[in-house]
Amino acid sequence: MIQVLVSCVMWALVASLLVLRRRRADHSITYASTIIALAMTLNIDPVYLALDPLFGGTNFITLAGDMLLMTGLYFLGRGVMRAGDYRPRLVRIAISLPTLLISLVCVATMFSFADRGHTTTTFMSDHGDQPLVGAYSITVFTYCGIVLAAMLALAIGQCRVTQGLLRVPALLLAIGASCGIALCATVVFMDVTHMIGALDLMRLVDAAYGPLTLATFLFLCAGFVAQPATRSVLRRFRGVRTDAFLMQLDPIWRNATKLRPGLSKLHPGSEVFEDPEAKLYRHVVEIRDAMIDPRVVFEISPTDLALLERAENHLLVRGTTSVMSTRFTTTDLDEALK
C-alpha cells in the first residue's frame, strides 16, 4: 500500500514539474523525479510480480529498481551541487558520475553473486541474512543517504536566506531530507542486524520503515512542487497588488502631473511604461516630485499619503537584500566637499 502511495505521489510530482518547470533550462529535478518515480513503480507488488518473471524470475527487478533509485538520486545530487554553495570536495566526489557508476557496478556485482531465489516481493526479508545481499543494500542506502545529506545542507542554507512564504518549500525539503536520512539509517541498521542475526533488534526498527518512507517522499515531493509554485503565486500576487496601487494612486497622480508634468507626460511613448511596476514607480516619483516642489501647491491627505507609502514599500520590496542595497550613506556637505 505504501509503495502505491509513494508511486502516486512521485508521478504527481513529475506531472507538476513538467508543468511548472517547462520553461526551465535545468532539468535535473525533473529527471530525478521521473527516474525515482519509475523505481518506486517497480516496487509495487503486482507490477513487480508481473515484470520479474519476464527477466528470469530471480528478482532482477529489485536490482533494476534500486539502480534506478540511485540514478535518480544522482540527478538530484547533481542539482544540489549546482544550486548551492555547499560543495565540500568529499561531497562533490560522492555525488559525481564516476562514483555513481562505480556504485552501480558494485551493487550489480554483489547482486549477481548473491543467492536470489525466485521472484518474491519480500526480497530483503527472505535473503537479507546473506552478507552479499546485506552489503548490496547498505551500498544502495549509503549512497542515498549521502545525496539526502547534501540536500538537507542545501535546504537548511535556503531556510536561512529566505523569509515568509518562500521559506516553506525549503523547510519541507529539509524535513523530507531529514526523514530520508533517518530512513537510510534505519535500512542500514536493519541490514546489519539481519546479517548478524539480531532479528529482535531488526524487527524493533522495522516499524519505523513504512512511516519514514511515506514521510520522506511526501515532504520531498511537497517541497519540490512548492518551490516553483510559491514563486509563481508570489509573482501573481505582486502583480495584482501593483495593479491595485496603480488604480488607487491614479487620481492623485493625475492631480500631481497637472501641476507639475513629469516624464510620463513629456515622454509618453516610452516602452518602459508598458510594465505595470515601472509605471507605478513613475507615478510615485511624480507624485513625490509635486509634493516637494516649492513652485506648486500640491498637498495630499493623510490617507493618500499612507497609500503612497504602502506603494513605495511595495516597490522597495522590503525585507530583501535588494532593499538594503538601495540605502546609501550620505555625508555632511562639508565632509563631501573636502
Binding site: R235, V317, T330, L337
Partner: protein
C-alpha cells in the same frame, strides 16, 4: 538615435546584467568615471526653484547633492538620475549645463574647482533630462529586480 535607444545602449554598457544592487551600480559608475562619487543630502536644495539634486564634477571627484525627501524611493531616484547623467556621458559635454543657475546663496561653500559644470534634476524638459530620468527609472527597475532575480537555487529547484 531616439531616447529609448540611447538609454538601452547606456544600460547595456554598464555590463551589470539584468539585475544589480545599488552598491554594484555605484561601483560601476565610479569605475566609469575613474573617480570617487560622494553623495550628500542638502535640504536647502529643495527650497530653490524645484531642484531635487545637483551633480557637480571636477577632475578628482563627482559630488551629488540632493534635497531631502521623506521617501527612500524618491531619494534614490534623485541619486539614480545623477548617476544616469554620468552613465549617458553628459559630464563629457562642454556645455556649462546649469553651473550658472545654482545661486551662491544656495551653495556658498563649494570649492571653485567643483563649479566647473553642474547638472541638476529639476524639470524634466530637455532631451538630456528626459534621457537621464528614463535611465534612472530603468536603473531602479533593475535594482528592484534583485529581489526576484534567479539564483542558482531557484534556477534548479524554482
Amino acid at each position: 538615435m531616439n531616447i529609448d535607444q540611447e538609454v538601452a545602449i547606456a544600460l547595456a554598457g554598464l555590463h551589470l546584467g539584468e539585475h544589480f544592487t545599488f552598491e554594484e551600480l555605484t561601483g560601476a559608475v565610479q569605475r566609469l568615471r575613474q573617480r570617487r562619487i560622494v553623495v550628500a543630502e542638502v535640504p536647502e536644495i529643495g527650497e530653490s526653484s524645484g531642484l531635487c539634486a545637483v551633480l557637480l564634477f571636477s577632475d578628482d571627484r563627482d559630488v551629488i547633492l540632493h534635497a531631502h525627501s521623506d521617501s527612500a524611493l524618491h531619494t534614490q531616484q534623485f541619486v539614480l538620475h545623477e548617476f544616469a547623467h554620468i552613465i549617458l556621458g553628459h559630464c563629457e559635454n562642454d556645455s556649462d549645463a546649469l553651473a550658472g543657475n545654482i545661486p551662491d546663496t544656495l551653495l556658498p561653500d563649494i570649492p571653485a574647482e567643483l563649479r566647473i559644470r553642474a547638472l541638476a534634476r529639476g524639470d524634466v524638459s530637455t532631451e538630456e533630462e528626459i534621457a537621464a530620468e528614463s535611465l534612472a527609472d530603468q536603473l531602479a527597475a533593475r535594482i528592484r529586480g534583485v529581489a526576484f532575480a534567479e539564483t542558482s537555487y531557484t534556477e534548479i529547484f524554482g
